[in-house]
């Protein structure tokens, strides 16, 4: 069996004796006999490292990894610089926990402070927390921040990622919050309907929208924000961090909270996790921000120092009234995002964003020529939707055969495509030619 217990049997015997026990059984005699497990666990015998690593490798090989990926919908295949893995594998970062003891945790604390700064820069906000579990939970946790005695109903645009909406619904089930979906029109939030819904509802607490939205299309966020604010509600934007480098910031759009998933910032798609939820807000919302926050201060000699701060907000004080219980977060993912952003720099981030949207436009043109039709006419960032007259499954199977993961099938005849800087012209041309062959009834 495998074991990470260093002490040998003999040493264990000695220690038992020194602690006053005859045996392990004796030591565990404080556990009532009725609840003691009287049989061995029904598990396989333990493996050696060599066997375990072989088994895990064999399992991993049962997955199909695609060389070319045109699927996004919340998990984006951006380039991860070599330095990112190298830094985030450092065991000082990997094996430490929440930096409760500032004196021996300045490295982790400073890295979080730097992360907060970069997220503030991206979003245009004043404060950012140290991370959420993912973008969806960050969106869900934005609702309690916006609620007060008079404002209890949350709104979400139906153009938000359905996975995000589902998580918000679950969280709202917990907090007994009414969550209302705002319909869409032409692939974007229906502003007229929104205005009417909010006008009719004095209890409206907030609207959560996504920019670019689930279909890849740009919403008129500024206008949405105005409508929401007019109704006395808060405006929450769920945003793509790569897009933020070139797009109007949530601050510029008047958002009260910016949330999103930081996965595009250096994290592998990895079957969905671990990713990074981020949240930023204007100073006015500072004390409502859930999660950990690092602040700058000085030590007893006047040196600059960093500490966890504003801890009084949640479970520590008035914990039975807490609106968030977040404790462990995704710190190493936040570090990953920091290293990614530092490696890319502002210019690199903009380049990734511009290439992603440029390629999406090239792909859409190529797919149009191949015979697919876009479902919406709105301007888009790096995702877009087409029909798929030959059937989504058939098309995706044909692409898969060539090692290509096509777009996400939304229905039997609708596909959501995505590109990043990783997709080359050559592979997009290949996709188009496979599509063209299928549409025209010939094999590629």
């Amino acid at each position: 069996m495998g074991s990470f217990v260093p002490n040998t049997d003999r040493e264990q015997e000695e220690m038992l004796k020194e602690a006053g026990y005859k045996s392990f059984d004796d030591m565990f005699s404080c556990i009532p006999d009725e609840v003691r497990l009287k049989r061995p666990l029904n598990l396989p015998s333990g493996l050696s490292e060599m066997e375990a690593i072989r088994e895990m490798e064999e399992i991993s090989e049962k997955n199909v990894t695609f060389k070319h990926i045109f699927r996004g919908a919340g998990a984006y295949n951006h380039y991860i610089p070599a330095i990112v893995k190298s830094v985030t594998a450092k065991e000082e970062f990997v094996t430490t926990y929440t930096p409760y003891q500032a004196e021996i945790s300045q490295g982790v604390l400073q890295s979080i402070f730097e992360y907060q700064t970069m997220m503030c820069e991206l979003t245009g906000m004043d404060v950012a927390n140290a991370s959420h579990y993912d973008g969806a939970t960050a969106a869900a946790e934005s609702i309690p921040m916006c609620k007060d005695r008079k404002h209890k109903v949350a709104y979400v645009s139906s153009t938000v990622h359905p996975g995000t909406i589902q998580v918000m619904e679950t969280y709202c089930f917990g907090s007994n919050t009414k969550l209302v979906q705002v319909p869409s029109k032409d692939g974007v939030t229906d502003m007229d309907k929104l205005a009417k819904m909010l006008k009719d509802d004095p209890e409206a607490a907030c609207l959560v929208m996504q920019q670019p939205n689930f279909y890849g299309i740009y919403e008129d966020a500024t206008k949405l924000g105005e409508i929401v604010h007019e109704a006395g509600a808060k405006f929450v934007m769920s945003v793509n961090p790569i897009a933020l480098s070139v797009m109007k910031t949530p601050a510029e759009c008047g958002a009260d909270v910016a949330v999103g998933d930081g996965q595009p910032l250096g994290m592998p798609i990895a079957y969905g996790g671990p990713y990074l939820g981020f949240m930023a807000a204007p100073k006015s919302m500072m004390r409502k921000l859930p999660g950990r926050i690092v602040g700058e201060t000085t030590d007893d000699k006047g040196n600059r120092a960093y500490v966890l701060t504003l801890q009084a907000r949640e479970q520590h004080i008035r914990r039975e009234k807490a609106s968030s219980n977040i404790c462990s977060n995704q710190a190493l993912c936040a570090l990953t995002a920091s290293v990614y952003m530092a490696a890319m720099g502002a210019d690199g981030m903009k380049e990734a964003a511009t290439q992603s949207t440029s390629k999406a436009h090239y792909l859409m043109d190529a797919l149009k020529k191949a015979g697919l039709k876009p479902m919406f006419s709105g301007e888009f960032f790096n995702e877009f939707i087409t029909d798929c007259p030959c059937g989504s499954d058939k098309l995706l199977d044909a692409l898969a055969e060539k090692g290509i993961l096509g777009g996400l099938p939304l229905t039997e005849n609708v596909v959501l495509w995505c590109t990043t800087e990783m997709n080359t012209k050559e592979e997009m041309d290949q996709v188009a030619s496979i599509v063209a062959a299928l549409i025209s009834g010939k094999e590629a």
Partner: protein
């Protein structure tokens, strides 16, 4: 040291992306960013050195003893990292079809099955990303159960006053009212108080066992029976599971739902605060409420996704912190049937060894066999010398030892909570014992020195009050 924004210079960069091979398309003017974007401008050399410096100013399990009570800072095996780096795991999209992610689904199924056996549960969801997230999920199951039965008056969750801070917070997030019940002098649940607290408004009880003072509650079967008899459910906070794996199972103690911290009990690294994973298990009757995609099937017939009929929905996008789960499964495979209880036995032994080597000097909050951790009260020492739990904790820093958890549980004054874990060799425990004894002596001989400890760290004690009052939460550019 400098912030990353204070090094480098405008125009410095890495050479990461190729030129664009298609015509450039810009974001429409109406959507484009007007605010300047400040990010670091550094070469790879500067970037690399910056983080090397930060790493040197951090202390991980790999750098020394880290007996942070209730956090189970055990050694993180390197084999876990190798497993989590396989391209087959890192390179698959969460929305690929079932046929192409059989490996990931197998990981999930095997992990769920193993956790079921260890916890004595019938089903698990791996979606929750952390312990607190698991608590939230577990309580939602309880809520959904009552709601489903139309039993809507059950709005109260009972939580002992010794509970982890996240318990009442989780209950509050689920819209429950929190009923706090006092502990007895022996740290265990006061049965009379519990009997007095339960009723037809009781949704459930949240408890960890061993409890937060490190003791196994001998009345556990009575406790869960009292709650069940009142129509409530019992939730097990798995934070302390490392004490009892293969020894006693939450399911056998009468619990209906449980969360487990993979980053504590199953050796996945803590990452400076996360990502962890907080799988939630439950008895058969709660399974129908589990969130997310459930993996059904087996290796032969193939795995498939199923969604529970009355699912609470999803507590996270996609399938949980998957690479954390990969690490935990690797560890479970290595430990297996024999290694799992061996780990718990030695976690408990290490704690009792340290406890009995210190209890002549330090006051133990509960002077009896502890489980995987024990709590000392420094109240007598403080009374005698003025040296507080904080001072002793800071003094430990100068010995290269991460301090225990301070001032928790709240029911013990001047608490220091020590959890050595099973992966520490005897010598490390002995060194910490020597250090703690030396600090006791120093507290008596020279309390001033301890008030100003630590003396050998890169910074001295930070001004935390100032940090909260005059909040500086980001670097500001002057341009």
């Amino acid at each position: 040291m400098d912030l990353i924004f204070e090094i480098g210079s405008e125009g410095r960069k890495l050479s990461l992306l190729p030129k664009c091979d298609v015509p450039e398309v810009k974001v429409p003017e109406s959507q484009s960013r007007k605010t300047a974007l400040h990010l670091p401008h550094v070469s790879e050399n500067e970037l690399s050195r910056h983080y090397s410096k930060l790493a040197k100013r951090s202390h991980g399990v790999n750098d020394g003893f880290y007996p942070l009570g209730s956090c189970t800072m055990k050694y993180n095996p390197k084999v876990n990292e190798i497993a989590a780096s396989f391209k087959g795991f890192t390179g698959v999209h969460p929305l690929q079809n079932e046929r192409t992610v059989q490996g990931s689904m197998e990981v999930i199924k095997k992990t769920e099955d193993t956790l079921c056996e260890i916890a004595g549960m019938d089903a698990f969801t791996l979606q929750p990303a952390a312990g607190a997230h698991g608590e939230f999920t577990g309580l939602l199951l309880i809520k959904a159960y009552h709601v489903d039965r139309g039993d809507t008056k059950r709005t109260k969750i009972i939580v002992p006053d010794s509970a982890h801070g996240t318990n009442p917070a989780s209950a509050a997030m689920c819209g429950f009212d929190v009923v706090s019940i006092p502990s007895q002098d022996d740290g265990c649940v006061d049965l009379d108080a519990l009997r007095g607290a339960v009723g037809d408004d009781t949704a459930g009880l949240m408890l960890t066992n061993p409890n937060t003072v490190g003791l196994f509650d001998k009345n556990i079967l009575q406790i869960t029976k009292i709650v069940h008899d009142a129509g409530g459910l019992c939730y097990y906070d798995g934070a302390n599971l490392n004490a009892v794996m293969g020894i006693a199972r939450p399911g056998d103690m009468g619990f209906d739902a449980v969360h487990i911290n993979l980053h504590k009990t199953f050796s996945t690294p803590h990452g400076g605060g996360g990502p962890g994973a907080g799988p939630v298990g439950c008895k058969e009757f709660l399974k129908q409420f589990l969130p997310g995609h459930h993996v059904a099937g087996d290796e032969n017939e193939g795995f498939r996704y199923e969604i529970e009929t009355k699912s609470i929905g999803a507590v996270k996008m996609f399938h949980g912190n998957f690479l954390v789960i990969v690490r935990a499964l690797t560890y479970m495979l290595m430990l297996g049937k024999e290694g799992v209880p061996e780990a718990s036995s030695n976690a408990v032994l290490n704690a009792n060894y340290m406890r009995t080597k210190l209890d002549d000097l330090y006051e133990m909050a509960y002077d009896t066999t502890c489980m995987h951790e024990f709590v000392m009260s420094l109240e007598p020492l403080k009374h005698k010398t003025g040296v507080s739990a904080l001072d002793v904790a800071k003094g430990l820093l100068d010995y290269g030892i991460h301090p225990p958890t301070m001032y928790f549980p709240l029911i013990v004054e001047e608490a220091l909570m020590i959890e050595p874990t099973e992966t520490e060799p005897k010598e490390v425990l002995d060194e910490a014992i020597v250090a703690l004894r030396a600090l006791y002596k120093e507290a008596t001989d020279n309390p001033e020195a301890l008030h100003s400890a630590p003396h050998n760290t890169v910074i001295g004690r930070p001004d935390e009050v100032g940090a909260a009052r005059n909040t500086v939460l980001r670097y500001q550019w002057t341009d």
